[in-house]
Symmetry: C2
Subunit: 266 residues, 2 copies
Amino acid sequence: MTHPFDDAIRLEATSTHVRRGRTHPEWANMVGPFGGITAAVMLRAIESQPERVGEPLALTVNYAAPIADGDFDLSLRAARTNRTNQHWIAELSQDGGVKTTATALFAVRRDGWADTESAPPSVPDPEQLPATDPGLVQWTSLYDMRYVEGPMPGKNGQPSASSTTTLWVRDRAQRPVDYPALAALCDIFYPRIFLRRGRVIPAGTISLTTYFHADQQQLDGLGNDFVLCTAHANTFSGGYFDQSAEVWARDGVLLATTHQVVYFKG
Amino acid sequence: MTHPFDDAIRLEATSTHVRRGRTHPEWANMVGPFGGITAAVMLRAIESQPERVGEPLALTVNYAAPIADGDFDLSLRAARTNRTNQHWIAELSQDGGVKTTATALFAVRRDGWADTESAPPSVPDPEQLPATDPGLVQWTSLYDMRYVEGPMPGKNGQPSASSTTTLWVRDRAQRPVDYPALAALCDIFYPRIFLRRGRVIPAGTISLTTYFHADQQQLDGLGNDFVLCTAHANTFSGGYFDQSAEVWARDGVLLATTHQVVYFKG
């Protein structure tokens, strides 16, 4: 028995720089798969290239069109390889049509001066909070989510003055957190517009950028523990909003900062 | 007489989807050109494509290698065109070597529910603040910069506990702000590590993502006025840090939010 996450990021080589993957019904979102699993599979495809240099540092994924159920091809190219970093361009296509584009920066981390200036929100431990019932969409049941603030508005939801959501999350089957899993966790939040408007409205991420701060040792130290995720929007205008978010380890390590722009209707 | 900004973003078509530009000595940074002018020229190249749909919404620029003085070629491709948005991939190369990669999302803005949740910092008017002397690098003399907090540390600089810098900026020759100019303003900040360490150390942006919130009418309304720019880092680790920043109009309109990851030594 493999885990649904490992199933979803499994790829076969069809040529030197093309990998074939497929959608999995467990990861279904409103339309197409969960954006986080698409980010994860693109990162995994690059990570598994033999000429890859270093660890993930930055990933931008552009959701250009919905991915249909079934196979997809990932084409990968190292646009530039330097001594301590490497720049990748990736495209996910189906039947010759581009569905997702991405750039990724992999880099060698070095010891040196370090400081985390941001602070995690003050929150109760996840064990003190109830697990949320599975949400509107299939993939949410693969995670154990414990909301601290800003849960998804229900049937009689009211608009909130704040777009902030904070929750503890872990993989329900307790698969350890690696870089692809962290890439997926960065897209764990339902759209901020739901919270501000007090209801579910059509919305979807169109571009997602993640900066990975955790090194491999810090990821190994996480194991399958909960991580603390907090997100807010800065502005809603012209039918789009931006979201900035952080993913924290329980011991106060900032694992990733992540930003996205989302379209919404109404 | 054209303005140095317009000189720097001027391009010639060498084929349908290749544009040729060149570096300009006024825009020189420590190594190669100011990252902001490179972002601007890549955005301008896409903006001037006849099949372009909508206005800039998101831009990610990856600084893969220093751009040498002289000509460069920009290759552009619309990876996906939808009814209300379009996804571009761009690469800047010199002598066949990729120096910069980018993805850009252009989109049609629509009227609808809007709210700015973030607030600009409380600051004095730019007219009450002194203009900063030109900095270490050439391009800074093209802007009128008025620091509110966190100016660049001088010779006997001390480490600061905060990485926040806030300043008013305008083009010294008062060229109006358009999308390329806004893209450049998003990279106006010297590296946050200078402030935390109290001195200049080797550092450079390797990936920059900007979300454009202003519509064309809001840009037109700016004219050549000062804009308020504020930036901070979240974490410094492994020889890299992230920066998040905002660019505000004087009347409280959030023009852009922008994020970057920067390498540093020491």
